[in-house]
Symmetry: C2
């Protein structure tokens, strides 16, 4: 394949790809048999076992690179995970045991196999090298970067300027992550756009260790089901590889209209031409249904996609259910009464019973007569004007 | 000994001693046999083999504490030394080998034995525990302190505010130093006043590890022979334990009059009463001679002190040699001609020879006739008005 084609494939959908000239040199060296295949690193945090469509955006690009003959290395960040989350977002989360990490990593691989040919990828656990660093190694590593440059990272800068605590181990993380690339001699690193700082830092650390620095590829951020934040396990606004087909379909049906285009582009890799733009803007409900159908097809198959679409449409008559219905995230089975109390649709159990008697509560378009247990994605209507989407999350 | 006496001994000359109530509790527990002797930590950096009067100020206090029955632990910072100087002052200094560190440490002990009973002290090399820390241990340690609090340390703050680079390993050093106290379960740490930040940080790290924090004793800073900076190996303004008696005498004779009082107080432990104040202000030359005599006596003996005093006075007639003569630091043997060229007392070798012929060059009050090699503290007069003190430094 000629270089122009390769570059076109790589550049599709990416938000950053640089330095292009360094990539070209590496690739030409490969073509001229001066070196082996380019080594592409992708880091995965095994602290929670769910991959989601946000990861899919990067994995899809990895798939492209795999097809181009590059060597794909998935780095399972078990060293990081074992230690706990550095960002302070979930400080109280207990450290994972080695067994839990291994278990999570195994489910990761199953999920990754839905996108990549895992026979051909290399899986590396970063504890294999990071846990063997001596204090002298760590001092060497930390001597290669300054405090002020580290504090230029957006989240650190904000926290520092607002006098929020940044614990010293937190700034070690980007360095450990960089050391992964040093150890693996990564030629390319790929990840979400929020990794840009870390990847750039990594280039400098590689140079400081006398290595050729990695080429950077970042993918745009996919916004989650909340319509605001990047899709992330931490924000619980994600559509998981492992979601049941009906839940996956329902969650995609619940995204905001403004996001439809980005999902077509980043998940389905579709060209956003005039025709598609018109379709989305004139018939967002239909565009979303099509999107949901295609994505379920991607992770399951055509038959299942058709089945859940029909099922969904049966319980959810067109246009009856408003797009901006309230959303409730379901983590474990709960009774409909408890849920309605939590979202303030009813103010007491008495009111709930009164509404039941009035046949005013509909679940998936069916009137209910008793308090039932909810354990999946469900659409609820109370009276004439109150709408609730219950979205199931597995965690 | 009653508590008041103990407190009086401890407080003499110190610049900080706190928290007193914690000390009292520890000491009472010891008296009531609820615990063993209080453990006093003193850190020594073996990167250069010279102890000097600045160290003596702390060692003298350690001697007091040893006399009170406390357990003295000298921590040889060979972990730090092996890694190199963190302050960036001497970046290019090569890392020391293990053998060099051991060798330096040995000479340290010889020097310490001039002050403390080394049969009764414990010597600990901090590489014994610090080099065995795992990355997990280091992350735990670094998770106990924040960046912003670390940047409150005077030197870090100044460098940070002036956009000078602070490398990340530099902020690990106070934490490693703190870990020494954790590992040794130090009850008291003693050092120069410039250690106040590190010692206070150490209290917090000990608490974070569930330990009773150490009591802090800091000693005032002794100003060196340059009259400006703290006595330090890095500034080469020091009077070493190992200086030859004549050099030691000469260096003390060269300190500025304003410093005489602090040397009487901090080195000789003398009460600065009205009588002494008057003596110093009315006869600084004599006060300095007495000081030099007493300090040489401390490190050698009375006989040697007398001998070097007489020798010094023979070569150096009272008042002839001005206090503010130019000082030249002698590191290795050099010819007098080379030295005079360096300090611009002569502008060429020809001028040097002309002056020799004119019998215009006096060394230690003796006219010289040829270019001689200088290898000790020496007083030079050139012509009628040019005075030079050559101070020998061993390093």
């Amino acid at each position: 394949m000629n270089l122009d084609n390769v570059l076109e494939i790589i550049k599709k959908n990416v938000s950053h790809f640089f330095p292009e000239e360094e990539f070209i040199k590496k690739y030409n060296d490969f073509l001229n048999n001066k070196r082996g295949p380019l080594r592409v690193k992708y880091g995965a945090d095994p602290s929670r076992p769910d991959l989601h469509l946000g990861h899919y955006v990067s994995l899809k690009k990895l798939k492209d690179l795999q097809n181009l003959g590059f060597e794909i290395i998935i780095v399972i960040g078990d060293f990081t995970a074992f230690i706990g989350d550095p960002t302070g977002r979930s400080k109280t989360r207990p450290k994972l045991s080695k067994e839990e990490v291994q278990e999570n990593a195994k489910t990761y691989l199953n999920q990754i196999s839905k996108v990549l040919d895992i026979e051909k990828i290399k899986i590396e656990f970063n504890s294999n090298w990071l846990s063997k660093l001596t204090p002298y190694d760590i001092i060497e590593l930390t001597s290669k970067y300054t405090i002020s440059r580290m504090l230029e990272r957006e989240d650190f800068k904000n926290r520092f300027n607002e006098n929020e605590s940044i614990y010293i181990h937190e700034i070690l993380y980007p360095l450990f992550q960089a050391y992964d690339s040093v150890f693996l001699k990564a030629d390319i690193e790929i990840g979400g756009e929020d990794q840009l700082f870390n990847f750039t830092l990594t280039r400098e650390i590689q140079k400081a260790y006398g290595q050729e620095p990695q080429v950077i590829i970042t993918m745009p951020i996919l916004i989650g089901t909340d319509g605001k934040l990047k899709m992330s396990k931490s924000y619980d606004n994600y559509i998981a590889f492992n979601d049941e087909a009906f839940d996956m379909f329902g969650k995609i049906m619940s995204i905001r209209d403004e996001l439809i285009e980005s999902y077509y582009k980043l998940v389905l890799y579709q060209e956003i031409d005039e025709e598609l733009k018109t379709f989305i803007s004139e018939n967002p409900r239909m565009a979303k249904e099509n999107l949901a159908y295609e994505i379920v097809k991607l992770f399951y198959n055509e038959e299942i996609a058709k089945k859940v679409r029909d099922e969904f449409n049966k319980v959810f008559k067109y246009k009856e259910f408003p797009e901006d219905a309230i959303i409730y995230e379901l983590r474990e089975p709960e009774t409909i009464c408890d849920i309605l109390l939590k979202v303030n649709f009813v103010s007491s159990k008495n009111e709930f019973r009164r509404l039941l008697n009035q046949k005013a509560i509909k679940i998936n378009n069916q009137v209910i007569n008793e308090n039932i247990l909810i354990n999946q994605t469900t659409f609820v209507k109370v009276g004439k004007h109150k709408f609730l989407k219950i979205l199931k999350h597995d965690n």
